[in-house]
Amino acid sequence: MKTDPVYFNHCKNVLFQSPLFEGLAEKVLDDMLQLFRRDTWRRGVQLDPQIFQQRFYLVIDGRLEVMRINPTTGRSITLYILGPGDGIDMVTLLNTNPHEVIPVALDDVSLISVPIVDARNWIDQHPEFNRKFLPYLGEQIRKMEDLASDLALHDTISRLARLILRHIIPNYSDKSDGVHQLKLIHDLHDESLARMVGSVRQVVNRHLQHWRKQGILHKKKFHMEVTELESLRDYADEAKHQVERKTSTN
């Protein structure tokens, strides 16, 4: 990739800001990038999942929605929204068992990829990478835990509130009006948000409209912002109290 120094440096900048690579020695990252090639996926593209058993992809620009779909009913759930610096289907680096994940490009996406065998060999040769890799995997497992417990324990409005809270950019509120910006989900359609909370578009749309009327959320040019953080937290915690009440009565 060094033959294209502009893109090479762009990749390095993006990856150094990602939890997976931040703090890694520059030389180690340079060596790693030598193995990769450039890929682009246009918005909406959905590749044959087989490719993720053969190649490992890192997102450089744009966003991807990683889904699972029930082929009989067509129902789908979003497992992750991935952004710059994230790896697609990290599990394939650990074991070879085939499993179904369907990444769909939410924007025109720019990626870099490497044969999975080469990625595994590189990790074997660079144990220092594991100091970043294992906490990153831990974070992914935590996200799955959150999703599973949200689906099992909370009602839709709380799940939606919790989803939005998890995507608030930390330390990035506009001090003058207290507006909180969101990462990755700020411009998603209601349909996509519904897939992330295991609901349907109509229900999610009703809750979002209700919060907009209450002044909790604000939408400006398809860009969602949180204007009343504490009120949104109340909606997220409401279910927690319900669960606590339920457990105490059992």
């Binding site: 294209d4 090639r37 890929d39 682009t40 246009r42």
Partner: protein, 155 residues
């Protein structure tokens, strides 16, 4: 249906010849390959005939296209058909042209189209392979190396 292509940017015609030679040895279907090169107005008469002959021997047809904002392009192979189809039903951006539309139809993103236009204007040559995903992956395996970047596009 998913569109797949890969693009390689080369500095000279000799590099393109070498790459097409490798594809021939690897038994890739060269009907799916195209080459695009910029023709400078000043040396068009000197280079054009010899370059066209060389590329026609390697691939098939050659055509010259005038693309506004870029200039005269020498196009060889499958790309000619796509560029001849015109701009109908495809909205690539503010400054659509037959090259941008053809690349878009092959699955290239808008950002990459701009990058390739800049490369052509800097006198680089593009080798494009537009085919099924497995064939594109195979071409990548043949051409991609540390010294030569191949970019794969899916749409």
């Amino acid at each position: 249906m998913i569109k797949n292509c890969c693009v390689v940017i080369y500095a000279s015609l000799a590099d393109i010849e070498a790459a097409i030679g490798k594809l021939k040895i690897a038994r890739c279907d060269l009907k799916q390959a195209s080459v695009i090169a910029y023709e400078n107005e000043t040396d068009i008469h000197n280079h054009q005939v010899s370059d066209r002959n060389t590329l026609e021997q390697l691939l098939t047809d050659t055509e010259l296209f005038f693309v506004s904002g870029i200039g005269t392009l020498m196009v060889v192979g499958q790309m000619i058909t796509l560029m001849s189809q015109g701009l109908e039903n495809v909205e690539v951006g503010d400054d659509s042209n037959p090259l941008a539309v053809a690349l878009f139809k092959m699955g290239v993103t808008r950002a990459s189209i701009k990058e390739y236009e800049r490369a052509i204007m800097a006198d680089k040559l593009l080798l494009i392979f537009y085919a099924q995903q497995k064939d594109v992956e195979y071409v990548c395996d043949v051409l991609h190396c540390e010294a030569q970047q191949v970019i794969v596009h899916h749409a």
